[in-house]
């Protein structure tokens, strides 16, 4: 019988939610690392019992935790994230140079091939890799060393590298995204990088065709079509069918052009999910109605999914890493809110049920589908 395990990172700890394949009854384990911010927890595709968690605190800095038993027990591993060489400066909010300073790990992406290999996207933006299960971390400095680095600026949440996507068809290809520099791709395993932001349009930035400076919120890919990417940006939902070489807007009839989360159906590469949010500073659903929007045509035509979700007086946010899908035959979709709810759907979004209602603000949700 299949099982599903949700790995939930919150402002005040991590939670592990498990259910059988029916996904009706859930066991809740946690809080793990109580009181710490858990930006992200993710399992290895090679060994689902190997989990990595980013644990951080304004007081005590960064800790990386590792589990070898699916989250029952944890051990702290390496937390030294040293930029390669002299880090130099990026732009501050007012355009003045600001030194690169490590703050936290936003996203952990375990390798598709090696249980001990894992990538970390960090703030201030850089990509690190560990080849020994998180004990030691080395920067892939070709990214930050790309000539545009001194021109990168932070988004409102900081200058974070928040998205790391490994191409299942090409181990040398990695996609990453940074707020608010944009998206980048390497085709040589991280040695060199190129910005992939052609076609993005970003509000009031002076040069809409700028190589960098676009506020990408999140990117999703279906593993069967690694050349097709879907992006939720500060402005618009976009898609690319050439691995990011160019992008087209597919916002269509969405009620807002803003949001954070985006994901792809496990079995239908043209079915995508977003949660429209009101920009710029409000950051809650329009009209107090929490609605997931689904497109079965890869964008442009969207339908609101509301069954089981609050349709009045709802003013929560759904953050960029807080949506995920399982791989069961009837695709499960899950998302967490800043109000502490985790909602699940066992029918690809047609209907929703709260799995838990009162966690701390949810920062991330990842799903593991277990045999």
């Amino acid at each position: 019988m299949s099982k599903v395990r949700l790995l939930v990172g919150t402002r005040k700890g991590a939670f592990v939610l498990t259910s059988d394949g029916k996904r009706e009854k859930w066991d809740v384990s946690g809080p793990h690392f109580a009181g710490w911010e858990i930006y992200h927890v993710k399992g290895s595709p090679v060994d689902p019992n190997r989990l990595y968690a980013s644990q951080s605190s304004g007081w005590f800095g960064q800790v990386i935790q590792r589990s070898n038993d699916g989250g029952k027990t944890w051990e702290p591993v390496g937390n030294k994230f040293a930029y390669d060489g002299v880090p130099g400066t990026h732009q501050w909010y007012d355009g003045t140079p600001h030194p690169w300073e490590f703050k936290r790990v936003w996203h952990l992406e375990p390798s598709l091939k090696n249980v001990d290999e894992v990538y970390a996207g960090v703030e201030d933006a850089a990509l690190f890799r560990s080849a020994d299960g998180g004990q030691n971390w080395e920067e892939l400095s070709g990214l930050r060393g790309h000539g545009s680095g001194p021109h990168w600026q932070p988004g409102a949440g900081g200058m974070c590298l928040h998205t790391v996507i490994l191409d299942p068809s090409d181990p040398q290809r990695i996609f990453i995204a940074i707020s608010a520099a944009g998206a980048f791709r390497t085709d040589d395993g991280g040695k060199t990088w190129r910005p992939i932001n052609k076609g993005l349009r970003s509000g009031t930035i002076p040069d809409q065709d700028a190589e960098v400076g676009h506020c990408v919120h999140h990117i999703a890919m279906h593993p069967s079509r690694p050349g097709t990417l879907f992006m939720q940006k500060h402005w618009d939902v976009m898609r690319s069918d050439n691995a990011g070489d160019s992008w087209q807007e597919v916002s269509g009839n969405l009620p807002t052009d803003f949001g954070f989360a985006i994901d792809v159906h496990a079995h239908e590469p043209e079915t995508i999910f977003v949660v429209p949010i009101k920009s710029d500073s409000e950051h809650y659903p329009p009209d107090g109605q929490l609605r997931v929007y689904r497109s079965k045509s890869g964008g442009n035509e969207w339908e609101a999914l509301t069954k089981g979700l609050p349709q009045k007086d709802c003013y929560v946010n759904v953050l960029r890493d807080a949506m995920s899908v399982d791989a069961l035959d009837s695709c499960g979709v899950y998302f967490g809110t800043t109000g502490g709810q985790v909602y699940g759907s066992t029918d690809a979004g047609d209907s929703w049920t709260p799995i838990v209602r009162d966690l701390p603000a949810v920062l991330s949700v990842e799903v593991q589908t277990l045999a």
Binding site: G58, W59, F60, G61, V63, P76, N79, K80
Partner: protein, 98 residues
């Protein structure tokens, strides 16, 4: 024997309860005590002092014998009562809730 009192979160991280006791060879300074602490509990590396620079993390402070030692030179001697174990070195979170 040197006594060190850690904030609750760091006690959890280090897997200890109550005070930590350390043996420090040579002069008893903030640096030598923190070096000994991190050697005994490697998971605390980077959580009290920054990696590399060994600067005190901004939201932590050091106290002993009712004195604020946060801004003391790392190689300055700690009070004799800390060095002989009569008083603990307190590592304290600088910002409470509220």
């Amino acid at each position: 024997m040197i006594r060190v009192e850690l904030p609750a979160h760091l006690r959890t991280l280090a897997g200890v309860k109550g005070e930590v006791t350390l043996e420090v060879a040579g002069q008893v300074t903030l640096k030598s005590v923190l070096d000994a602490l991190e050697a005994k509990y490697p998971t605390l590396r980077g959580t009290i002092r920054e990696h590399g620079t060994l600067k005190r993390r901004a939201f932590l402070r050091f106290f002993a014998c009712e004195e604020d030692l946060s801004h003391q030179w790392p190689d300055a001697l700690l009070p004799e009562t800390v060095a002989n174990g009569k008083e603990p070195l307190l590592i304290v979170g600088a910002v409470a809730g509220g």
